[in-house]
């Protein structure tokens, strides 16, 4: 861990400005990912701006009938919120499928959206990694890649986004609200929030320097059966090999987002039209152009079979 300076911010714009004016500065909230990465010197911020005091920790109804989730609402509190459990079950289930109780107590909504990949080569500073050290190469492409991406990948990076929460938010079409250092607020649809790796896998979101997430809003409830199915090697405390967030209506239509396969929560709206035709048809469109490795080729079939299980659970 490199030595760094530290300050506590009292207002969102002030926090954004503080990060913008200090090269190498970062926000810190729960710290459940950033501190680990700092200890390994994968992240080396020169200055940390603590946003925990910004009072962005409430969940409020929106005029449209949705929910506005403060950036600092802890994962535990979000999962347990009565409105979330009632109207956005897929989100509550996704949160509870992630990490451990201790981590969820600490981890925040905004931090969860910004957590970084768990690619093992990203975590080993002796190995080339374009995400950690742009231009150094990708060790995973012809290395150990069982956990890694199969769709939207590039020759520069096949990392996956490890979040469960974000997969559910993608299915729900959440919106990320931010404030920029100049005080301007903006709304970013979750579909546009995470980026594909392309040639710049180190740039993971569309946030601008210093831009601070203030909230995530959920549109009015969708109803339907809300399922989050996380497939993993052990029963708990493991990242998804594949996960499916689904909201499926009585008539068989619905929405799907898939985790564990791409650099962002993966959703292809056009594929959802095939839901009544079953998992195979959906998967063909959802994963069209998939590019897997020897180690993770199984994920294509796993997505299809998991989708099948989710669809039949929704029908039951």
């Amino acid at each position: 861990m490199r030595a760094f300076t530290f300050e506590r911010a009292n207002a969102p714009v002030e926090a954004a400005a503080a990060v913008a004016r200090t090269p190498g500065a970062k926000f810190i909230a729960g710290g459940t990912n950033l501190l680990d990465l700092m200890k390994l010197q994968i992240e080396t911020p020169t200055h940390l701006v603590d946003v925990n005091g910004l009072k962005l920790d409430t969940i409020e109804p929106t005029p449209e009938g949705g929910l506005r989730i403060g950036a600092l609402v802890r994962n535990t509190d979000l999962a347990a919120d009565e409105r979330v459990r009632r109207d956005y079950g897929v989100l509550s289930r996704a949160l509870l499928a992630g990490a451990s109780g201790q981590l969820r107590n600490r981890a925040t909504t905004a931090g969860n959206l910004l957590q970084r990949t768990r690619c093992p080569y990203f975590y080993d500073t002796a190995q080339p990694c374009n995400k950690r050290e742009p231009g150094s190469g990708c060790s995973a492409l012809d290395g150990f890649s069982r956990q890694l991406g199969i769709i939207g990948v590039s020759d520069a990076c096949i990392a996956t986004n490890p979040s469960d929460m974000a997969v559910a938010m993608r299915a729900l079409d959440a919106t990320v609200e931010t404030v920029r250092p100049d005080g301007m607020a903006r709304k970013i649809p979750i579909a546009e929030f995470h980026r594909l790796p392309g040639e710049t896998p180190h740039v993971e979101t569309t946030l601008e320097p210093g831009e601070l997430i203030t909230a995530v809003t959920l549109p009015p409830p969708l109803g339907g059966r809300q399922i989050y199915r996380k497939v993993r090697d052990r029963a708990s405390y493991a990242f998804a090999l594949v996960s499916v967030a689904a909201v499926i209506q009585r008539d068989g239509t619905g929405r799907l987002a898939v985790g564990g396969v791409a650099h962002k929560p993966w959703r292809v709206e056009a594929a959802e039209a095939d839901l009544p035709r079953g998992a195979k048809a959906v998967t063909e469109r959802l994963l069209a152009g998939a590019k897997s490795t020897h180690d993770n080729a199984f994920k294509v079939l796993l997505v299809e079979r998991t989708l099948g299980a989710v669809i039949s659970e929704a029908r039951s």
């Binding site: 861990m1 490199r2 030595a3 200890k39 390994l40 010197q41 768990r118 093992p120 080569y121 975590y123 080993d124 500073t125 002796a126 190995q127 060790s139 012809d142 290395g143 150990f144 069982r146 497939v231 993993r232 090697d233 052990r234 029963a235 708990s236 405390y237 493991a238 990242f239 090999l241 998992a279 199984f298 079939l301 796993l302 079979r305 998991t306 099948g308 299980a309 039949s312």
Partner: protein
């Protein structure tokens, strides 16, 4: 005390204290955080500085230069020792890898420098400032690719499983060719990491030329000799102290880089230095259980009698490393007149392979007991009955050599009854419970019982308190408690009158913790010392030692009864002895036995395997403490589930290292994976094992578990997987069509 004839009745047989399910006497310290582990021993020596170990970024080659200028001037830095500062140091006992010194890199994350600073963060930050110029060389990292070049080699795991390069009995090839029913299959097991909770950690301090290491080590006497050899100092100048150990599983049998670099760093900094290996270093810097490729051939008559059995295993290791002795149990487990066992080894440039919980038997049983399941199916026999049919009461290689006590059949029969084995469908893929395909599997468990000398000192003070001192270790197993129970039973006092001190090399050398030999041998050593103390007490009090009874805090003979404490009224009484063994282990085979039963559910859509319930029935001599023994066995069963379903060090075959080198990437079972476990111990004693009549259970508990899981997966799905771990990617394309 020399133990060379079977034990007769002795004070332990009273079972007033021994054999009782006593809570651990160290339990309260561990649950309240007052049992200080090596890295937490802030009070043993003042002015402790922090060390941080830097590992090599290449797997093979040499270091051309190291640039430490920036690190040296970093804040708080007190000293830096690099591998180029000294020639290659000697190796410790039973290790293949060199731990430090010189430019040659043998494996990834080999220690190449230690930075000492005032704080941990300063040491770590400075270590990252060291720049290293490497000259990388091509290495051999792929066991499957190198296996054809492997050569026959004999060896001893050092933990009780051993064998010559090749064992032949009768005419295997002829009998196999002539057998009515045959199996010829290959199985693989991956590299595994011990993944114990507490990392390797040491505080080192020099007082002139005398070195003290407060460390985390299973084998204190080995450690003392090894560190002396590595550093080139006399062994009598070294003290190791290791009273609490947060798990070892074989990872801490040896002196490793933490101890060596703490000692070197303390010398360079002129300060005591504490350091721990970081979790990402452990997989590649230390030792692991090596991967194996195993071929098993079994031939039998139509009635199920095995006529021919062959087990061959290939593993890899650093030059001068050992093979994984995965065939050793097959020499002893089943009858059969014609036999062939062979071990082969090929050089690899991966980190050092060495002992991990039940070395040899654990991976060997994972293969053998699946082969037995497959063979039973070919024969149309129930797998329990097939095993019983081929049970042997003699060493199959030397028919006049009997087992000291063997009740595998009892384990299988009782286990089948308790588990409800008769409800299992013999045809696979028949049972469904909602989304789950349900199956049950069985495997035998087998692990040898080792006899090794073990010493102890016992003191009696004027308050009647008995203090035991031995360098035996408690690696979470319950050594403190069973040693206290032994001393209490022998001296006729309650447990609150016994103090146990462990893990200090100033105490008499013991068996240590390894190879499931700790419990029986260490308590037998305490027994021997207590026999001497009883003699001293009797003499002091004017009793004839042979007829003095020790009970309720008194010594009694005839009508006369005297408080035990009175024997020390003129001063503390001290007795020391060790247990040594004759040739009972040569004349008789000593082993422990179990039957493992497992029920699994396999998700019909995804292929996720989840264990639903497990049962182990163990026959392992006298159980000294059923509670701590059960803890050992359920822990081992859990580790067996890990080996079956998820544990695998992923090898990067180009760069030559284990990629998933932290506990997020190397998955071991969590609570949610282990819903229900039951353990039954057969009520038995083995008078050939020691005066305690006990044997080990800690490794027995893992041997066979993986195969029982794999057999249950087969029973659930009809899919036979012969490559561990049984992850869903190996099942998913063979599962039935989704509905």
């Amino acid at each position: 005390m020399r133990f060379d004839t079977p034990a007769t009745t002795n004070p332990i047989d009273q079972l007033k204290v021994v054999g009782q399910p006593t809570d651990r006497i160290d339990g309260r310290y561990k649950t309240t955080g007052t049992a200080a582990y090596a890295y937490e021993r802030h009070d043993v020596v003042p002015e402790q500085a922090y060390g941080f170990v830097l590992g090599s970024a290449i797997a093979k080659g040499r270091i051309a230069a190291m640039h430490v200028e920036d690190a040296k001037t970093a804040p708080g830095v007190l000293a830096i020792v690099t591998t180029l500062d000294m020639p290659r140091l000697e190796r410790g006992m039973m290790n293949a890898a060199y731990l430090f010194g010189g430019p040659i890199i043998q494996h990834y994350h080999q220690a190449i420098a230690v930075v000492v600073a005032e704080t941990f963060e300063q040491a770590r930050a400075a270590a990252y400032l060291i720049r290293v110029d490497y000259q990388s060389e091509a290495g051999k990292f792929d066991l499957a690719a190198e296996a054809p070049n492997a050569t026959l080699i004999g060896d001893d795991s050092g933990e009780g499983s051993s064998g010559p390069p090749e064992v032949r009995v009768g005419d295997f090839e002829g009998a196999f060719a002539a057998a009515a029913v045959k199996l010829d299959e290959s199985y693989t097991t991956p590299d595994e990491s011990h993944a114990m909770m507490e990392p390797h950690a040491t505080i080192a301090a020099w007082d002139g030329d005398r070195l003290t290491l407060w460390t985390s080590n299973q084998m204190i006497a080995w450690g003392k000799r090894s560190i002396a050899k590595i550093l080139g100092i006399p062994a009598q100048n070294v003290r190791l102290d290791s009273p609490y150990i947060g798990g070892g599983f074989g990872a801490k049998l040896f002196i490793r880089a933490d101890a060596v670099l703490a000692a070197l760093a303390a010398k360079a900094a002129h300060r005591p230095v504490k350091l721990a290996l970081t979790r990402p270093l452990i997989a590649n810097n230390t030792t692991h259980r090596p991967a194996t490729i195993q071929r098993i051939r079994i031939g039998a008559n139509r009635d199920g009698t095995i006529t021919a059995i062959a087990h061959e295993s290939t593993s890899g290791n650093l030059a001068e490393g050992k093979p994984e002795t995965a065939v050793s149990q097959t020499r002893l487990l089943y009858a059969g007149a014609n036999r062939l066992m062979a071990m082969r080894l090929t050089p690899l440039d991966l980190p050092e392979g060495n002992a991990m919980r039940a070395p040899g038997e654990a991976p060997g049983m994972m293969a053998l007991e699946v082969a037995m399941d497959e063979m039973a199916e070919k024969l149309g026999l129930d797998p329990v009955e097939f095993r019983i049919l081929n049970d042997t009461q003699v060493d199959p290689e030397k028919l006049d050599r009997r087992f000291s006590h063997r009740d595998l059949v009892g384990c299988l029969r009782l286990g089948a009854e308790r588990f409800g084995w008769d409800k299992r469908s013999p045809r696979p893929a028949q049972v469904r419970d909602g989304r789950w395909l349900i199956g049950a599997g069985v495997a035998a468990g087998f692990r040898n019982n080792l006899l090794t000398k073990s010493g102890a000192r016992v003191r009696l003070d004027r308050q009647g308190v008995v203090t035991v001192e031995t360098d035996m270790t408690d690696i979470g197993t319950g050594s403190y408690t069973i040693i206290a129970q032994t001393a209490a039973e022998m001296m006729g006092v309650t447990l609150d009158k016994v103090v146990v001190r462990l893990g200090d090399s100033a105490f008499p050398a013991s068996a240590g913790s390894g190879g499931q030999w700790g419990a029986n041998n260490a308590t037998a050593g305490v027994y021997a010392a207590c026999v001497k103390l009883r003699e001293a007490v009797a003499q002091q009090l004017g009793f004839n030692a042979a007829d003095a009874e020790f009970s309720n805090g008194d010594v009694r003979s005839g009508n006369r009864s005297v408080p035990l404490s009175q024997a020390a009224s003129a001063g503390e009484l001290v007795a020391e002895d060790l247990i040594e063994y004759g040739d009972l282990a040569k004349t008789h085979q000593q082993s422990t036995f179990a039957a493992h039963f497992v029920e699994v559910g396999v998700d019909a859509a995804t292929g996720e395997v989840r264990v639903r319930r497990m049962l182990a029935v163990c026959a392992a001599g006298r159980i000294l403490n059923p509670k701590s023994a059960r803890s050992q066995v359920i822990g081992a069963m859990t580790m067996g589930v890990g080996a079956a379903l998820m544990e695998e060090l992923a090898v990067d075959k180009r760069r030559g290292f284990f990629v998933n080198h932290d506990l997020a990437g190397y998955e071991v079972p969590v609570h949610a994976d282990i819903p229900h476990q039951e353990v039954v111990f057969l009520d038995e004693v083995d008078p050939m094992s020691s005066p305690m009549k006990a044997k080990g259970v800690a490794e027995l508990g893992i041997c066979g578990v993986g195969a029982a899981v794999a057999n249950a997966v087969y029973n659930a799905t009809g899919i036979r997987i012969r490559d561990y771990p049984l992850t869903l990617d190996k099942l998913i394309d063979r599962l039935p069509e989704a509905v």
